[in-house]
Each structure stands twice: as structure tokens, then as C-alpha cells.
């Protein structure tokens, strides 16, 4: 972002579609590089019909969501296993909201009582649930896990490491780039002429959106913030001095990094602020919670997609509080209710904007949690269920494989930590393909996905 010391204009600092390395290595101007990349990429997309607008919205549930209470098997034998494992963490069977998945796998299911909106979305065919997803390097059996020697994701059950692996989509890689960033690396040219980055975060820095060539832009829930006391007629001298200090040929890399971020913030702010100001207000009302405010701004940014000349966007929002080591029974209903209401409002907003088929929201989280209790909560686990929402989703159905909740059973690697049956790579590749990536691009963005039976879980239309 700040590597272009040799007079490239401010455009070169704007994240989307710019190859920093290209500029640094080739020494060519940003504009020329743009053109070369764009030609190649646009033709690649045109060949597979990647036109039209598409957006992915990652809803990251920080702390490790205990999703085994979000989707619960209610068939007699299955519920008995669930109850035996979860004990005081179990949701009473009579409280669960029954659902009828399109595919009958012989098990009855219910959704947590705090999520009536999710049930409605499921029934309407807009919500799919993918079961027991987790970090894996390659398919893994319990016997292989216990015997050792097989490839197992490093640092299982550790928050920071498992967040990292969920967001990179490559367990075992130490490379600090996320799959959303790598997707933007190959798809960035679709936003030709846009001054705003493809990857937009409403929740600050994250690994998910960082690519080799892609730098995400961070927005607040009220949009981009304007600088006080600068860029007005009465303070031209101050502004000139401020900008001169900002754009100086700084010799220290940390100074350059800081300058680059401030410069990018200034340049994008003007574009975003004026576009937002001219947009039709959203009628959909969002819950006034952190997640609700983030998703509302995502909707507003989607609403101005044409003004920003973007045809692809990757958003990142998040909610914390899922690390329910204690007081889980008291805290979980509120956490679930917030997700349910916010996602429902978001889907309503997408319908309002007429882009429901073009926007897919999906959850990620550090890990699932132990089925067993530590007295009043659960500890760090592995596999967990995840939500995929949108008009482009083959909703109303469950995907992946329902694990056994039997303690010491085939999926339990200890204490009710469940061995995932679907990898994060497969889950992510399915979404990236819908976003428009070709098969070779899928293979390069998700280097481990070829280890698994399929890179398409079949949940996208």
C-alpha cells in the first residue's frame, strides 16, 4: 500500500485490484498494470458467465459458537444421546422449534427456541445449515487421529490459531492471507474503475480479507469517518501541511505503513460518504446491536454498489461473546437471538434492494465446543454447524453429515470434541465457486481442497 514511493498517485494506495508486488517488482505505473490484469481477468470471467453482482458476507462468531444447541436432533434415540452428553447444557426437547429439511436422513431436527427467525428463513428456503464443519488438512478418522502420524490441523482448540485457520481456509499454512483476500486477488479486476476496495470490513482487522495483492478497507457502522478541521476552505494551509507530511518519502517502514493507511482512509472516505449520502434510505429496520449495525452498513454499501463501480464485494462482520466457558445457559439464548434477528433483517434488506439472489451470508467461528459440560459451560471443541443464507442458497436443507453425539463414539475425540466431517476448505470453496471462481482458481485459492472428495457441497444454486 505504501510501497510506491516513486510518484505513483494516490490511486496506487487503494486496495482493490492493485498488485503491490507487481508495482514493486516491475516498476511499472499502476495504471498500466491495471490494464494488463483487467484484460486477462475480465476475459476469464466472461468465459464462465461471471457477470452481474455478487457479494459474500462473512459473519464471524468469535469465541467458538456452541452450535450443537442451535441445531439439535430430536428423534428419540438421537435426543437421548444429546441429553446424555450435554446434561445441564441441553435444551429441553419440547422447547425446540421443529424443522423439516428437504432431504430426509431419518433424523428429526429442531432449532433453538431463541431463533424463530432462522426457522422462518429455513422454511422459506433461504437458509441452509452445514453440519459438523471444521479445520482439517485431509479427511481424518478417529482411529487416525488417535494413532497419530496423520495430518492434523496444528493447535487444535486454541482460539487464535483456529480463527486463523478458519479465515485462511488452509489448515497448517502459516501464510498470513485469508481466503477472502485470495478470492479478491483473482476477482479484483471485476471492479474495474472502482476506487473502493473489494473487501470491506465492518469489524476491523481480520485475516480473512487480506490477500497477496488485496488490502481490505475498514468502515465504521456509520460509514467512513471524515477528518475534523481539514479539507475545508478555511484551513487550506493546515491541510496542505498535513498532506505534505502524510505523503512524504518516509524512510521508516512503520511510518510508511501508518501514512499509507491514513492516505487510503482519506481517499476512500470521500467516495463512500458522497455515495451513501445520495442513496435511498433503507426501509428495513435492523436490531440496534453491534451485529445489527454492522449488517445494516453492509446493506447500505451493497445499495451503492453501482455508484462505487463494484460488481463483487466481500464483507466481514463479527460478533463476540461465544466463548461460553461459564453461564452458558444464561448467555446462549441472547447470543442466538441476536444472530437470528440480525440475519433475518439482513435478508429482508437484500430483498428490499432486489439483490437477494446475489448476496450470500455465511457464518464462521473459531471452533465448536465440547458436548460435555464443565459445570456451567462448555470448552473448546472442533467441528460445528454453520449457517448459509441468501436467495442463491439451496435452503431449507441440511448439508454435510450429522455426527454421532455418543460419548466415546466414532466422532468423539475426547470430552465431546467432535471430529469434523466436512472441512472448512470444502465449505469455503463452495462459496467461492458461487462468487465466480473457476475450477483452476478454486484449486489455487484452496490448495488442500483437492484432498477431499468434493469442493462443492451442493448447497448453492
Amino acid at each position: 500500500m505504501s510501497g510506491s514511493k516513486n510518484g505513483a498517485d494516490h490511486m496506487s494506495r487503494i486496495g482493490n485490484g492493485i498488485s503491490r508486488r507487481g508495482i514493486l517488482q516491475l516498476g511499472v505505473g499502476a495504471a498500466g498494470l491495471y490494464a494488463m490484469r483487467d484484460l486477462a481477468m475480465v476475459s476469464s470471467y466472461a468465459a464462465q458467465g461471471g457477470g452481474g453482482y455478487r457479494a459474500l458476507v462473512c459473519v464471524f462468531l468469535y469465541g467458538g459458537n456452541d452450535s450443537f444447541n442451535m441445531l439439535v436432533p430430536t428423534s428419540t434415540a438421537r435426543y437421548a444421546e444429546y441429553l446424555a452428553a450435554r446434561q445441564n447444557l441441553a435444551v429441553p426437547v419440547e422447547d425446540l422449534l421443529p424443522i423439516m429439511p428437504t432431504t430426509n436422513d431419518g433424523i428429526a431436527y429442531g432449532i433453538h427456541p431463541s431463533c424463530p427467525e432462522l426457522r422462518t428463513l429455513f422454511d422459506a428456503g433461504n437458509l441452509a445449515i452445514v453440519r459438523n464443519v471444521g479445520t482439517l488438512v485431509a479427511p481424518l478418522t478417529k482411529a487416525q487421529y488417535q494413532a497419530g502420524g496423520a495430518a492434523v490441523p496444528p493447535q487444535l482448540f486454541s482460539h487464535s490459531d483456529q480463527q486463523f485457520q478458519w479465515q485462511t481456509g488452509v489448515s497448517g499454512s502459516v501464510e498470513n492471507v485469508g481466503w477472502g483476500g485470495r478470492v479478491a486477488d483473482v476477482a479484483g479486476s471485476l471492479n474495474v474503475g472502482s476506487q473502493v476496495a473489494m473487501n470491506l470490513s465492518l469489524s476491523g482487522s481480520n485475516t480473512f480479507q487480506v490477500g497477496h495483492d488485496t488490502l481490505p478497507y475498514n468502515l465504521g457502522t456509520n460509514g467512513a469517518i471524515k477528518l475534523s478541521g481539514l479539507f475545508q476552505n478555511w484551513n487550506q494551509d493546515r491541510t496542505a501541511a498535513f498532506e505534505t507530511l502524510l505523503d512524504a518519502p518516509h524512510s521508516n517502514r512503520l511510518v510508511r505503513q501508518f501514512a499509507g493507511i491514513q492516505r487510503q482512509a482519506i481517499d476512500v472516505q470521500g467516495v463512500v460518504t458522497s455515495a451513501l449520502a445520495s442513496a435511498q434510505p433503507l426501509a428495513t429496520v435492523f436490531p440496534d446491536t453491534g451485529l445489527g449495525r454492522q449488517l445494516r452498513m453492509v446493506a447500505r454499501m451493497i445499495a451503492i454498489r453501482s455508484t462505487l463501480s463494484t460488481s463483487r464485494q466481500v464483507f466481514f462482520v463479527s460478533r463476540g461473546g461465544f466463548d461460553t466457558h461459564d453461564d452458558q445457559e444464561q448467555d446462549q439464548p441472547g447470543l442466538y437471538a441476536d444472530i437470528s434477528r440480525c440475519l433475518a433483517a439482513f435478508q429482508a434488506a437484500m430483498v428490499e434492494l432486489g439483490v437477494a439472489d446475489s448476496v450470500t451470508a455465511f457464518t464462521g467461528s473459531d471452533f465448536g465446543r465440547t458436548l460435555t459440560s464443565n459445570g456451567d459451560g462448555s470448552d473448546h471443541g472442533w467441528g460445528s454447524h454453520h449457517l448459509v443464507l441468501g436467495g442463491g442458497v439451496r435452503g431449507g436443507d441440511l448439508y454435510g453429515t450429522m455426527p454421532s453425539f455418543q460419548m466415546g463414539g466414532p466422532d468423539d475425540v475426547g470430552g465431546g470434541r467432535l471430529l469434523p466431517t466436512t472441512s472448512v476448505d470444502q465449505y469455503s470453496a463452495t462459496l467461492a465457486r458461487w462468487y465466480g471462481l473457476t475450477e483452476p482458481q478454486i484449486a489455487s485459492v484452496f490448495p488442500n481442497v483437492g484432498n477431499f472428495a468434493t469442493s462443492d457441497l451442493g448447497l448453492m444454486l
Binding site: M1, G3, R21, Y62, A84, A85, Q87, N88, P154, Q155, F157, S160, D161, G204, S205, L215, N218, L219, G220, A224, L227, S228, R238, A241, F242, L245, L246, A248, H250, S251, N252, R253, L254, V255, R256, Q257, F258, A259, G260, I261, Q262, Q264, I266, Q269, G320, G321, H325, D326, D327, D331, T370, T372, S373, N374, G375, D379, H380, M407, G415, G416
Partner: protein
């Protein structure tokens, strides 16, 4: 107080001034504080004498750089003090000056009305900006970002007094011993609630209930040894296949989780009730797992030990692990000096952690001294100007401004309870136990490409960089002593001394460079700021010229990075 006379003390007569201080200790306080503005009420306690050493700074700039690393921001009086007494003399004096604590302030508040988390933050500003024990407070703030608790957690939000005492644990032990600190943190009911060791019970196999693993995991991952076996220089040990060797596995966590069973609130009459918000947790044998446990390096805790015996052995097991020195040392270097210390630097600090020269392990004062007096701390800015330094922590940008320009409110308080709004940072208020940023965060772009860490960049988002710049705008251009419309609780900077220099813009900017940038301002930047200052009218006696220059420096990229 007459600013000009303080100036005289700071720049011309420091040594003789100090002789006065020594002979009349009570007077020394006011003189040293150098900023006893109306109502601040700071520092009425006598300060102990300082014993000068010969390692005096090469220049005022050298002293100022050192103070940027070791305090919440240099002041003219501090520069004079270090010049007069040497780095080591100042450091050793810092160890013995009276300690500034937070809980007493909150208890005083509680006696007169409601007390909330913002009162804890007010006390933090006060101690950080005005406390004489600057090194101790700076270490405590660094340690608060390793031993993280947060009022964002619902369980702690309502307990500001308990959290103030938690911070006081870090302050009291910040120049003490790591082993003692680890124990006090572990037994704090605030940490006990935050990482759910409080109330943790032995297993109940009939109900599939196991001990809570939360504290067991994080005390290893974050507070002591980290994930990978380290060499003493902080680099990872590799196995035969060049794969890093992990320090512990799930079985180790489960064994430590069993150690950390059976603790609850002090003086509880029932298990977990009633609550005591700050006194150390106490053991209940009934709920403790008394079976044998195997800890790191095969250490076996025999069955039937008491909770305290198990805890003692487990904390010793962690404390004696060779990783602690390089793991914690690297993070303290990052908080005080530079984001990318060399392995040699980490190794030198780790060696002091292992043995302070008297055979003591974990002596944090000697560790702080080793960090600050290391050749890399003292000369990194000239030896490796491209990569050396750290982005200033947001709160430190504000404290440095307030210290440099003698900020206080007329009612004496520092009522800024929610600095996390503009800055993304507030004391004991990170989003998770992983702190505001990771010590391993590499910002995308040139730094990532060059393998450079920059933890503070993780909260330097496009939004926060602008809201931070705007906060500085208000703090400098609005909340200054030219403003006649301020309220009694507004914290205001005072620029009388600087206005005295304002007719000579070059002298003004050089002075600001010394105070705000440790004399590291580039010639090029100096020209820009002088030029801008020169074009600001002196019609108001220099207020505008001074604050314009301060604002430009405070918000500049060069000014944002400590080098």
C-alpha cells in the same frame, strides 16, 4: 507556577536544582512534577532521594527517546532529571518512588456515590499522566496487555473496584517478581471470573462434567510459555522435520484444569457465594480434584495434595519453563521499545529474566532495565532506521500529549472514560483475552511482505486512524488554554512555555521535536512544520501558532511512530 522558572530548571540548572530537591524532599515533589497546575493535587508525598549514576544521556534527545520508552511521555523536567542523574540512576529511583494505585481512588468515589468503569479509567489516566512511578505504571500497562482481563466481559463490567485492584496487582508487581505476579493474577477473583477458574470443580463423571479448561489453556498459551518450545533468543525450536515443537497438548491442559479446581471467593460461606470483589480466592478442598496429575516435563503431583499445594507446584512448573523469559521478554520489548527486536536482543533480556545477577529468576525490574538499557533500545534508531521502532499505542499518544503540555482540568480529574471510542484501546478493555492486538500481527502490505511485526497496526484501521486523528484535533486545537469556554472537567493542555518560543518558529519546532518525537523529526518534516508555523499569525500571542505546530506533529506519520 511560573513556567519560565521551570524551564530554567529543566534546561540550565538541572543538577543544582536537584541538589535542592535532595535536601528538601517535600519541595522536590512540586519541582519534579513540574506541572502542578490548578487543582491537580498531585504528589504531596515526599519522594525518596535519587542517586546519580555516570551513564548520562548523550543529549536531550537521547534522554527524551529513553523517556518515550520508559514513561507515558517525556516532559522537560524528566529530561532534565535523566540528564542529571543518568539512565540507571533514574531507573533505580523509579523503583523506590511511591506507588500510585487505583483502588483507593475508586473506594473514595464509592463512598460518595455510584462507581462505574469510567471511574477506573479516570484513575488510570491520572496515575499514568501524573504518577511519579512512571516506569512502574508503564510496565503495569504492558503487563495488562499480557495478563488480560476486560470489562467488556459481562461478568466484570459491574465490578470496577475489583478491576482497579486487579490493575493494582500489576502495578505493585510490575517491578517485582514474575512468579509472585503470576500467583496474584491466578488467585485474583477478577481473573477467576474472567477465565472461569473461580468455581471450577473436580469432575463429576456421572454427569459428564469435567473441570473447566479455560484458565489452564490461557495461562500457558498467553501468560507464561506460549505454544511452541523456544530457544532463549525467542526463535522456535524445530524437530527433525523442521516443524515447530509444541509446548503442551490437550492432555496437559486437562491436567492443569484439574489443578485449578476448588477455588472461590474469599470468605465465601457457600461455594461461590457471597462474592468478594478483590481479595484473593480461597480453596475449598471438597471441590478440588485430589487425584495425581502429570504436568509439563513429566512433573507428577502426587494424589491428595491440597488445592494450594497443587497450585504452588503447577505455577512453579510453568514459571521454571525456559520459555517464559523469551516469550514474555519479547512482548515487553514490543510494548516498550520496538515491534521487531532482534533475536540477540530477546536473548539478552531472557538471560536477565533467567538470572538477574543475584541468582533470582523473574526479576521484572532488572528485566525492564535490561530492555531499556540494551544497545538496541539505545541505538536501534540509528543502527536500523528502516525497521526500528513501534507504532505508538493509541493511549500513549494521548498521555504523551497531556504530559508534554501539562494537561489538567480545573477540578483535578481526568474524565475520559471511553477512550476506546476514538482509539480502539482503553485500559483493561480489550475484546478478548488475546488483547487489542497480537504480538505476532503483521500488517498487510510492505510490512507483511518484509516479515515485519506491527501489533498496534491491528487496531489502526481506516476508521480508527481517522477517529484518532480527530481526537488529537480536539485535544490540541480545542482543549487548550486559549479556550475560554471550557468546563471544569475538561482536561486542557497548557502551552505558556511554548508560546514563549513562538516568535522563533524554528526554536519552537525544535522544542516540540524534543518533547514529542525524541528529537527524531526528519529535516524535511522540520521544514514543513516551521513553514506552516511561520504562516500562522502571532496576533493572539502565539496560541494558534503553537497548537497548529503541535497538531501537525501529533498527527503526522513520523510523530505516530516511536523510534
Amino acid at each position: 507556577m511560573d513556567r519560565q522558572s521551570i524551564h530554567g530548571s529543566a534546561h540550565g540548572e538541572a543538577r543544582s536544582r536537584w541538589k535542592i530537591c535532595r535536601s528538601t524532599a517535600a519541595f522536590a515533589v512540586a519541582g519534579l512534577a513540574g506541572c502542578s497546575g490548578g487543582g491537580s493535587g498531585s504528589g504531596d508525598v515526599p519522594l525518596p532521594p535519587i542517586t546519580a549514576t555516570s551513564d548520562v544521556p548523550e543529549s536531550d534527545a537521547d534522554a527524551s527517546r529513553f523517556l518515550m520508552q520508559s514513561t507515558f511521555g517525556p516532559r522537560r523536567s524528566d529530561i532534565a532529571l535523566v540528564n542529571a542523574n543518568g539512565f540507571t540512576g533514574w531507573l533505580e529511583w523509579q523503583q523506590i518512588v511511591p506507588i500510585s494505585l487505583a483502588r483507593p481512588a475508586l473506594e473514595a468515589q464509592a463512598a460518595t456515590g455510584d462507581v462505574y468503569q469510567q471511574h477506573r479509567v479516570y484513575a488510570w489516566w491520572r496515575n499514568s499522566v501524573r504518577g511519579h512511578d512512571q516506569l512502574r505504571q508503564r510496565m503495569a500497562f504492558a503487563l495488562s496487555q499480557i495478563f488480560v482481563v476486560s470489562d467488556v466481559a459481562g461478568t466484570l463490567g459491574g465490578d470496577p473496584v475489583g478491576m482497579a485492584e486487579y490493575y493494582d496487582i500489576l502495578v505493585r508487581n510490575g517491578l517485582g517478581n514474575y512468579r509472585q505476579l503470576l500467583e496474584e493474577v491466578t488467585l485474583s477473583p477478577i481473573m477467576g471470573r474472567y477465565l472461569s477458574m473461580l468455581g471450577n470443580e473436580k469432575a463429576d463423571p456421572i454427569h459428564n462434567i469435567r473441570p473447566d479448561e479455560n484458565y489452564a489453556r490461557e495461562v500457558m498459551q498467553l501468560f507464561t510459555i506460549g505454544l511452541f518450545e523456544l530457544n532463549q533468543d525467542g526463535t522456535r525450536q524445530l524437530d527433525g522435520d523442521d516443524v515447530p515443537i509444541t509446548t503442551y497438548d490437550q492432555t496437559d491442559i486437562e491436567n492443569f484444569a484439574r489443578v485449578f479446581t476448588g477455588w472461590t471467593f474469599a470468605d465465601a460461606t457457600n461455594w461461590n457465594w457471597p462474592q468478594s470483589n478483590y481479595r484473593p480466592m480461597e480453596p475449598w478442598l471438597t471441590y478440588h480434584d485430589t487425584d495425581e496429575k502429570t504436568l509439563l516435563n513429566g512433573l507428577v503431583l502426587p494424589s491428595n495434595q491440597t488445592p494450594a499445594e497443587d497450585l504452588e507446584a503447577a505455577l512453579a512448573n510453568l514459571f521454571l519453563h525456559p520459555n517464559v523469559g523469551p516469550f514474555i521478554g519479547r512482548q515487553l520489548i514490543q510494548r516498550l521499545v520496538t515491534s521487531n527486536p532482534s533475536p540477540e536482543y530477546i536473548g539478552r533480556v531472557a538471560a536477565v529474566f533467567a538470572d538477574d545477577g543475584t541468582g533470582e529468576r523473574g526479576d521484572l525490574f532488572e528485566v525492564a532495565k535490561a530492555i531499556l538499557l540494551d544497545e538496541e533500545a539505545r541505538h536501534g534508531h540509528t543502527d536500523d532506521p528502516v525497521n526500528f521502532g513501534k507504532l505508538k499505542e493509541p493511549l500513549l499518544r494521548q498521555t504523551a500529549l497531556w504530559r508534554a503540555f501539562d494537561a489538567y482540568s480545573t477540578i483535578g480529574t481526568y474524565q475520559d472514560g471511553w477512550p476506546d471510542g476514538p482509539w480502539g484501546q482503553a485500559p483493561l478493555r480489550s475484546g478478548s483475552v488475546f488483547n487489542f492486538y497480537s504480538p505476532f500481527y503483521r500488517p498487510p502490505g510492505e510490512m507483511l511482505d518484509n516479515g515485519l511485526y506491527g501489533p498496534e497496526f491491528q487496531i489502526t484501521t481506516h476508521t480508527l486512524i481517522t477517529s484518532g486523528t480527530n481526537r488529537l484535533h480536539d485535544l490540541v486545537l480545542w482543549l487548550n488554554d486559549s479556550n475560554t469556554g471550557i468546563d471544569g472537567d475538561d482536561v486542557v493542555i497548557h502551552t505558556a512555555y511554548e508560546r514563549g518560543l513562538a516568535t522563533d518558529p524554528a526554536a519552537l519546532v525544535d522544542h516540540l521535536d524534543l518533547l514529542m518525537m525524541g528529537g527524531q523529526m526528519s529535516d524535511w518534516m522540520r521544514d514543513v512544520v516551521i513553514d506552516h508555523a511561520t504562516h500562522v499569525s502571532m496576533a493572539d500571542g502565539g496560541y494558534d501558532r503553537v497548537t497548529e505546530a503541535i497538531y501537525l506533529i501529533a498527527t503526522s506519520p513520523e510523530g505516530a511512530v516511536q523510534r
